[in-house]
């Protein structure tokens, strides 16, 4: 088993630098499905012990990237090292060192929770004498030890998710991949899943790589990469990203949005766009701007909201659209369906 060369802090490691790598290092990774380029040459590096998030709308190429890093899909071009092993040349080495929680449930509902985990332990060759103890440990971590004899089909969505996270940890992977760990769950369950994930960070030495399209969840990450249309648009800590935007977001409900946009440009020199059906723009010190807006705009306004910068605004400022609008665009749906079909 190869030893990890831990690089921290000032390490300005170029992703492809001479075999030295953190938990994950990726360079020029590309995946093409026929005409469609799902992932268009991404580069990034994830440090050991980091929680790294991929943020972007559905169809941005997040799942395809994860599938490539987990050796389920071969890249069209580019390369990547996961836990120090090449994802194409050392598939088995990679697989032995990663845990993967898929976007859709991959449990056998006709088996009990314990049977599911036992099958996994055997597939990964977890030594027999360790199975019981390790199983208890990971199941207690997600609060399911008492339910180990229940059929998985009788579990709620949140319990299944937790069991999958426990299963992903069973063989002590060095990198845990979570593909949309909370998608389709209600807000309460989502926050409980997150408290398990954060607790996990204190108990296991592990790097977590996750994807999400919930902005608020990206805040939990040490660093995030915003992905859109197969490319990484920006990568930094959530704080730094928000600081970069620095502006408050103002949204106006107007009778005649195009006229308002034109007026904003003309009178205040602001570039506004229509997002979520409202005229949207960023401005420093939003509260103080509003009185001027009402006085000088000269167009009827039905409503106004001002919000402090969030990751939504980061997304907006880099892509010119909010993540929700990006989600609903037809093009992305097609991409996602295609990517899912191909990955089956």
């Amino acid at each position: 088993m190869s030893q990890q060369t831990t690089t921290t802090g000032d390490a300005q490691v170029a992703p492809a630098a001479a075999g030295v790598s953190g938990a994950v290092s990726v360079s020029g990774l590309t995946k093409r499905y026929g005409e469609v380029e799902a992932v268009r040459g991404v580069d990034f590096a994830v440090e050991v012990g980091e929680t790294f998030g991929f943020l972007g709308p559905n169809g941005a190429g997040k799942s395809t990237t994860i599938s490539m890093l987990c050796t389920l899909v071969s890249p069209t071009a580019g390369s990547a090292l996961v836990a120090g092993h090449d994802i194409v040349g050392e598939r088995d080495e990679v697989r032995r060192n990663i845990g993967l929680v898929f976007q859709d449930t991959t449990l056998d509902g006709y088996l009990t929770a314990e049977q599911n985990l036992r099958l996994h332990a055997e597939l990964y060759g977890v030594p027999k004498q360790l199975v019981r103890g390790r199983m208890q440990q990971v199941m207690e971590m997600v609060g399911l030890w008492e339910r180990r004899d229940s059929l998985v089909n009788h579990f709620s969505g949140g319990m299944k998710r937790r069991l999958e996270i426990a299963r992903g940890l069973l063989h002590s992977p060095r990198v845990l991949f979570l593909d949309e760990p909370t998608v389709g769950l209600d807000p309460q369950t989502r926050s409980s899943i997150w408290s398990y994930i954060r607790q996990l960070k204190t108990q296991e030495q592990i790097t977590i790589f996750l994807t999400t399209h919930y902005m608020d969840e990206a805040e939990y990450c040490d660093r995030i990469a915003i992905m859109d249309q197969g490319q990484i648009i920006v990568l930094d800590t959530p704080e730094a990203l928000k600081a970069q935007v620095g502006k408050d977001r103002v949204q106006i409900e107007a009778e005649d949005p195009p006229a308002v946009i034109a007026a904003l440009k003309q009178r205040f020199d602001l570039d506004a766009v229509i997002a979520e059906g409202k005229v949207t723009f960023g401005v420093t010190n939003g509260e103080h701007f509003l009185p001027r807006l009402f006085a000088e705009l000269g167009h009827p306004i039905r409503g106004v909201s001002v919000a402090r910068p969030s990751l939504d605004d980061v997304f907006l400022s880099y892509t010119g659209t909010t993540i929700r609008d990006a989600e609903s665009s037809e093009n992305n749906d097609r991409m996602r369906n295609l990517a899912r079909m191909m990955s089956r």
Partner: protein, 302 residues
């Protein structure tokens, strides 16, 4: 758009003093032949666990053999009696019916692969550090085992249709049965590699299995057939499972030479009598080829 992926920030917390785990971390061992055997066993065992949970499936799979043996067999026996030389029609169709029960169970076993794909369990297995071939082989062995088990249940009925419970006979039938089960599972797995929807899979399998059953001579002796039918019969793999089974059964019955000649003429290739061992080999070979194709298909990645 230019990628502005920043350099790793100094905020990356390299392990916030991890608590000492109570259980030593697991080390996943390197790939080995033992590991592959274990993977085969895991997939095989899961097949068995699921089969044992599904009592309804065991019962419903008995339905068809019952209908064929006791309803059709009894109903037709009066008009057929002239040609059977005193042998009960039920005894005659028994090997065919047994094969059918085995085939359907094997087919359902392979069908669960399509479920696994649809509901994701297959992906969980595919990302494990084991060969795809081990997974496919485990699946085929699992299907062969549960289908063989279903066959044994039908075999218990043999006495009711006048077949003696002679150990050598039962063993011979079991071997043929398991080989057939393996081949059909391999066939199903091969198809399942390409088909993503359970409905299409079932339709395809029905389309394959019903003609196989009717062409195989499960319900009639393979002698004096019109040319087109005898050609199709010789091409049908099931022919090579039903015929040796029926010959084995008749070897343990006290019947006249005429009856033997008319009812179990044996399969011929251009007039040459194909020996039972070769027939079994045909079934086994076909299964191995299909297993190979299935492994190839599952080993491909996008």
């Amino acid at each position: 758009m230019a990628t502005r992926a920043g350099a790793p920030s100094e905020l990356a917390p390299a392990g916030a003093v991890p608590a000492v785990p109570e259980v030593a971390g697991v080390r996943v061992p390197a790939r080995s032949a033992r590991g592959e055997l274990r993977a085969i066993k895991v997939v095989w065992k899961r097949e068995l666990i699921r089969f044992s949970h599904d009592r309804l499936r065991i019962l419903t799979a008995l339905m068809q053999p019952f209908l064929f043996l006791f309803v059709l067999g009894t109903g037709l026996s009066r008009i057929a009696s002239a040609g059977t030389h005193g042998v009960s029609l039920r005894t005659f169709v028994y090997p065919g019916v047994l094969c059918m029960a085995v085939m359907f169970t094997a087919m359902f076993s392979a069908a669960s692969l399509v479920w696994d794909r649809e509901f994701g369990f297959l992906r969980e297995m595919m990302v494990a550090p084991v060969r795809r071939s081990s997974l496919v082989l485990g699946k085929c062995l699992g299907g062969a085992t549960v289908a063989g088990f279903q066959g044994v249940i039908v075999l218990v009925l043999a006495g009711l249709v006048g077949i003696p419970y002679a150990i050598p006979l039962l063993l011979e039938i079991c071997v043929l049965m398991v080989m057939l089960a393996f081949t059909i599972t391999a066939f199903g797995v091969m198809v399942a590699a390409r088909v993503t929807q359970i409905q299409s899979f079932m339709a395809l399998m029905q389309m394959a299995i019903m003609p196989m059953f009717f062409l195989s001579g499960a319900l009639f002796p393979v002698i004096g057939l019109p040319l087109w039918l005898s050609i199709l019969n010789r091409l049908d793999p099931l022919t090579y499972a039903v015929d040796p089974m029926r010959r084995a059964i008749f070897n343990h019955l006290h019947v006249s030479a005429v009856a033997r000649h008319d009812l179990v003429p044996g399969v011929t290739w251009f007039g040459w009598h194909v020996p039972g061992a070769l027939e079994a080999a045909v079934v086994g070979l076909l299964g191995s080829v299909m297993l190979g194709v299935a492994i190839f298909q599952f080993s491909k990645t996008d």
